[in-house]
Subunit: 326 residues, 2 copies
């Protein structure tokens, strides 16, 4: 999960010296933050320290992060002139060159046995943020935009599908070993809309990558669509904590690997409970290959490091039993 | 859906004269607000104007509604002494007598062809509000309470199961023709937890009612559990907008009726779109009986009345075709 470092004192120390935007834009700081969980906890993979909203920023939207409030776009996309303004210009890749540089910095220091994960937000999820402009309780603006401005919405989604593809290609060219697409707002759509809107555009993105690297799709709140997601072209599906891992395994029936799905709030309890719930996740997937242990959503900043260590130790000690040849 | 009146100018006029708590506590105002949608729009059933949090209030918690923020409990249940304090005392029914009186007032004026629906929050959903104390983004307090205080949580859930049962019996005795249990926070639990915690306590409540009136269960965000919900003892399941109505019908296979599930944001678009999406819901359920048309969550306060009228007209004109004997 991409917010990997926030619970680490070492993260907070380094982050305290700069703004969030500065941290994302600095290839040195971003690389250091990317490597912290590897150095301190020896996790199995690194995920580039970045943010899904840097794509809309590169498209010309003014992005800011307000402490205690989260990301804010100063000029949300509510009407035609606002959408019309957005174009993918020829300098799009130049504007994201700090991401390539962060990735190259990380790769030069990362042990070759540890893969580096690049990532993007899905076209639908980016559209939600760009239309709302800030966090929302009911996301009424984004959801009604689909009904009220169907042509404009289609145009926006196509634009974002291209931008997302180009950002992923840039990350792969810089050295990302695999990539993950976060559809954080999949759960705002009903199953039919999810398939028509978000899944369709993610499929397009995956097709555009031409199998160059493995792709993980994490569609939060889309437990209803595991079956169709297994045919999206992705190699692995992230399963959120609200979805049954055992049912998902039956549904995908070896078409894709599964990643997940410990509820991040378990990490706020105590080591004994963490161990117990971690084993439950291993048992839910069951014996055999095709499971990447992970959380079922982003780690909470207030998580005690001790509990993360217990989680990692438990997976290390208990999971081999599940991968034995039977 | 219980927030039925908020979009009506007549509702806002009457509500503007009192606080929300005064409106709930006044049997005259509550009865008038209950009847408004019947008088103005001629909907098929009335639902008592009330709130799920009046049970915790009757248990001794201090409840307030802060404009722009929502309900707040001054003393949330975070620790043992706070939970210990709560007891169902012999005057519990007396403290809710205003609900009985509201129901009797409504029944004296309501056309006998229109049923009156009573309701409660599920034990789990009430526990969430009582532990959090106010609205939350991640509901970390309620979710970790399950892990950190398992015995205390069990005690709280048992207490609420009894309180919810007694509130429903009181509403039924006063004249409610059927009742609905709102499990608004079902989606905070994973499928196993939902079954062990929320569904188990709702089953207990339904069993306690002994089949006296039909029961509808609306478990928001529990689309993964339609199958087990169909065996909960409920006569009808509310299906939220994020869950497929056609899949749900296949799953329940005539064990229960289904209610739902138009996405409330559709009502913010235009009459043409409302008509189109309403017909899609009728088609999703398909031919035959066992479907109660409804929204898939509460109506949004900013909904234009014109769109609600279009919805009702469309259901009236189009649904008979679906109920024809084939």
């Amino acid at each position: 999960m991409r917010q990997a470092g926030r619970y680490l004192p070492q993260y907070r120390e380094l982050r305290g010296k700069v703004t969030l935007l500065e941290a994302f834009h600095s290839p040195e700081i971003a690389a250091e933050l990317t490597l912290q969980p590897i150095e301190l906890l020896s996790v199995d993979a690194a995920i580039i320290y970045s943010d899904i909203l840097l794509i809309p920023e590169a498209l010309g939207m003014s992005l800011d992060y307000i402490p205690g409030k989260g990301p804010v776009f100063g000029n949300p996309l509510r009407s035609e002139p606002n959408v019309e303004r957005l174009r993918i210009k020829s300098d799009f890749e130049d504007k994201l060159s700090f991401v390539s540089e962060s990735i190259r910095n990380v790769k030069s220091k990362l042990d070759s046995s540890k893969p580096l994960i690049g990532f993007v937000g899905s076209p639908w999820t980016l559209a939600v943020y760009m239309i709302e402009g800030e966090s929302s309780k009911s996301f009424v603006n984004a959801k009604t935009f689909i009904y009220k401005e169907p042509d404009l919405f289609k145009e926006l989604l196509e634009l974002l599908t291209e931008a997302v593809t180009r950002s992923l290609k840039l990350q792969i060219n810089a050295g990302a070993d695999l990539v993950q697409i976060f559809d954080s707002w999949a759960g705002l759509l009903n199953p039919q809309q999810f398939s028509d809107i978000s899944l369709a555009s993610m499929k397009e993105v995956i097709k555009n990558l031409d199998g160059s690297v493995p792709v993980i799709v994490f569609a939060k709140g889309a437990g209803h669509s595991v079956d169709v997601l297994a045919d999206s072209g992705a190699d692995c599906l992230g399963i959120d904590w609200g979805t049954s891992l055992s049912e998902s395994r039956k549904t995908v029936n070896n078409r894709v690997a599964l990643q997940g799905n410990l509820d991040p709030v378990v990490l706020l309890s105590n080591p004994e409970k963490v161990r117990e719930e971690t084993i439950k996740v291993l048992e839910a997937y069951g014996k055999g290959n095709g499971h990447i242990f992970n959380l079922g959503h982003g780690i909470l900043p207030e998580t005690p490091v001790e509990n993360v260590k217990t989680l990692i130790e438990t997976v290390r000690s208990e999971s081999p039993e599940f991968h034995k040849e039977s």
